[in-house]
Symmetry: D2
Subunit: 337 residues, 4 copies
């Protein structure tokens, strides 16, 4: 931490030095031309409480120096992690494709979609059973029945399945059906939920919140990792900005930033970022070239009849085209599809 003094009075500087030392750090005072600065030396990740010094009238600001994550960081584990989930591998050399409908709507719909996904090369099947919807009057998902249908469709087609879990007490139930647990964007900072999925054995697919910084995403992964679950996949799915042509703004730059900081796999969801089916494939291609470890895309046999997210769902032939177009790009990136 660097504490920038607003005052140059010796008494005020002494006061800050004394508070820094009380909290167990060494203080170095640097007299600048216009500002005096106090550097607090020690393990910064526990130094959160030093920020409270900003409440002193003679302190201008407190500037952190270190990144606050540990277990998610490359300093702890330099090689890239590969998350395995049944037959699927995501990370390292393995480019993973997760596909399926927004919601499980019926046995026919999920079976039909699963077969399409398998046919064109997806590695995992997605499908929502518990749907966090903006309106209480919208379709809320088939719940446990949806979990059963999803599992059944996955097994029939040889695809491990991932589905969203939205409350901590529901984690055991969902974990008994699903191979991988998804934390949705709206729940990224639902810490009770993060702790709960940190305690099960299923890998976790963690989506970045719409207004979350890259650092906050990594701190949420840290919650899961610190509970003992090492299998976390990070997913960038668009952040909220002023642009209204698309549902969200895909922060593609998050891919190389995350790959620099963390060993965890990074996946892009171009369906939620764009909100429009005709923008999904170009963004899937961009994701591959940016260095992502996989994509998650929404596929529906008849999007115009979808209960949710119809506008952004790919028809079967669109999905086939997407897979054909990303294949040579994945190879150029030195990965396996």
């Amino acid at each position: 931490m660097i504490i920038v003094m607003g005052s140059r009075e010796q008494r005020d500087v002494d006061n800050v030095v004394s508070k820094v030392e009380q909290l167990g750090y060494k203080a170095h005072v640097i007299l600048g031309v216009e500002r005096t600065v106090v550097a607090a030396v020690g393990d910064e990740r526990d130094k959160q409480r030093l920020t409270a010094l900003e409440s002193l009238p003679y302190v201008e600001q407190v500037v952190p120096i270190l990144k606050p994550f540990k277990l998610a960081g490359r300093e702890v584990k330099s090689e890239s992690s590969v998350v395995e989930c049944g037959s699927a591998k995501i990370g390292g050399k393995h480019f993973g494709v997760v596909a399926g409908p927004c919601s499980v709507e019926s046995r026919e719909q999920i079976n039909e979609t699963a077969a399409i996904c398998k046919q064109y090369g997806a590695h995992m099947l997605r499908g929502g059973a518990y749907k966090p919807r903006t309106s209480p009057y919208s379709f809320q998902g088939l719940e446990e029945e949806g979990l059963k249908l999803l599992k059944e469709a996955g097994q029939a087609n040889g695809l491990p399945v991932v589905t969203e879990v939205i409350t901590p007490d529901n984690v055991p139930l969902v974990a008994s059906y699903a191979d991988m647990l998804q934390i949705g964007a709206r729940n990224m900072q639902n810490y009770g939920l993060l702790k709960a999925v940190g305690k099960v054995k299923n890998p976790v697919f963690l989506k970045r919140g719409m207004a979350a910084t890259i650092q906050e995403l990594l701190m949420c992964a840290e919650y899961i990792l610190s509970e003992g679950n090492p299998n976390v996949i990070l997913c960038e799915r668009g952040i909220r900005t002023f642009e209204t042509e698309t549902r969200n703004t895909l922060d593609i730059q998050a891919v190389p930033v995350l790959k620099k900081y963390t060993h965890l796999p990074v996946v892009i969801d171009p369906s939620h970022s764009t909100g429009h089916w005709d923008l999904v494939t170009p963004m899937a291609c961009a994701a591959v070239a940016a260095g992502a470890d996989g994509i998650m895309v929404e596929v529906h046999p008849r999007p115009a009849e979808a209960f949710s997210d119809g506008p952004q769902s790919l028809k079967p032939d669109n999905f086939a085209d997407l897979m054909k177009r990303i294949k040579p790009l994945v190879e150029i990136m030195g990965k396996v599809l």
Copy 2:
């Protein structure tokens, strides 16, 4: 819903008309100079599924016309609601002040703060027992012990208490200690939690998420109201923007926008919006003049020693000054402090 056609082919228009009618609405076709438009007439709030028509290649966009909230809206209840919580009233003529520390840290700290808040005129005491913290390594709150200390301090000083609840299964416990339940910004769209607080009798203090639109905030209130709990207070506490001089950007315009749309009380939290104690009082004054029904502010006897949110906490004399400065403004607005 207004469906803007990308195509002018009769066949495509017929197709859209037929799908609109299948979903139970009437379709009006308007031939414009450059675009054909299909208006779907019927109760729009159930028309969510019409948006899926955007997935048709010959549909350019689907534009909703109605606001999606019902129970929260002034069309259902035109007079402003007053939420009562023990001795406190917020809404209508009643300007409410909720004050207290970010976290309950100890019996001494919460008792000392409660006495200060009472002395200078607060109507309710706040204090966190379960803390959603960005880092798993930061102080996470005293949990049930904190609830007990908060209740004790409130009762000793004649102040009803409000505290945050972060998981659905914890709602009964927190509701047994706290007079009002707070939903934090990070949990605004934690729908399981919203449904759970919709089922208890305690009033709910609902904070706007950092990236949530005004309409999404109202839809979250709608979740609580539709479960049967009519006592919801909305709180604007700053949204996330590019500006870094302050912790968040206070969307003060949300006050008159919300007052236009909803009968629910609207409260401003200038502590979290600014992130700096010396900006809190000017923003509390602005909140009053903008027409807010109350404020929530953080007060700590010794901010530099606070376990959390020290930089934005008011010292006792700052809080006394805030109360003195808002008093004449509240009166000019025709309200009672």
Copy 3:
């Protein structure tokens, strides 16, 4: 500047120290537990070039400590500035109201509006003659004819006038008609224009850009001040965010932040921030209570017929009501209307 090292090799640290010294600063090395930091001591405002050290692979980041503005800052001039423009004063004890139409449309329209503005207590008349419009097919203003009509209406009603200037070579012409020159939000960082208005005697009304930080706004004022023109008024008129209920998001927190950093007057424009006439008066009241030195509002005799900005223009009786409502608030703030 604080240079955070990515490497702990002595050779790399020596290299940075040597580059810091070559640029004329003293270097202090602090060995932290996990990072080594080099503090560069000297006049930071010329230290921009030190940021280039971030391009070295062994440097993690370069963190500036000082604010980059000088002449605009309270460190150079601690008392608040009062900008005088004919009979109008804005700043210090003087709360200024600038009112008028978006565009000068005709002699009748501007004369009628000027009389209304004067009648209800405005101090200055606004009106655009050169309009920066999003579309080249929209009304672009009456140009010099508009300037003449504006001046005439101002003089007839005893109101100094302010109007926007959009190109550097037009500054002398506009300055010959207008008492004050406005720099619009889209031109805030049009540095050629800033330099040009810095060279005339007319006071300057500088609007914050839609995506400009508070610090960037102050740096633009610095451009004008450093050319020799000390009379600059800063105007917050809304920034661009994800919220779509309003045209822009009013950053009301910018008022106390700016008042802390700068001696220049700070004015709020609630017409452009809200985009809706019925939100303007509550925001004008909030501006007063937040400590602003004035407001700029759009007034039109018949908004539904306005050539531009109709939705956000006040009708005469709305403007009368606004003036009546802000009066007691201005007095409570210890200012004169």
Copy 4:
């Protein structure tokens, strides 16, 4: 335009119909279940003035249906445009690489950089002579001397040159040295400048503003096109969001959105979007895969000594690596490097 009524009174509806007809459009009234809607039929691009109806108390909102651009749109010209500039072609099958330093600093520096750019395959040389800098105390460019040095270096190495022009009256001078004129992000809505570059023969490189929507960018191109200059290249260079790990957020989704709407070439600038040299190459690759027509990147022989933008400048070997990595991607996309 769709006018959504707030009132259902016949008198109010009649009033709106009458105003719509007065402005020369046909009005269609649709009685919905909860709202009455008036559709105004006619050429919408001149209908801007209809938005003023939102100022009527009985009108809830006015919703535009058509995109406001004409000449920039694919409806006017469906095939993709190729912009030629000396030996360089950008657009269609031609993927263009524009490289060079942020600023022209000296004859040696620009000559050395030009040779590097040529050697590794750039098609055009960039270099700033007039620099729009945030601080008036920062290096402002070598001005005309810089233009001369840039032209000389371009000619010596067989590279057409592009440089920024910042004031309208400077356009003829800059156009006499430079092959292509750049409009910087801060000047995107400097309409006087847009009109000036619309009148010369040089192609224009138009950068998107930091807070500009995709539609606003197209309207700025429309300004240039409507003055008679058909050679405009659009450049996405990052928008401003809350994320601070990168200088800006690259809106990569703008590429397919723009390609859908416009025939003009679309180029990505990964140097300004990222702000960090080590993120530039992954983003250049993503740009190719997303369907962009080219990239603009900053290259400097010794970034740590750069007068401006050092942190984001590529060293020669980094640029060589970038070119090597994009080559196979460009080929897969069916284009020529």
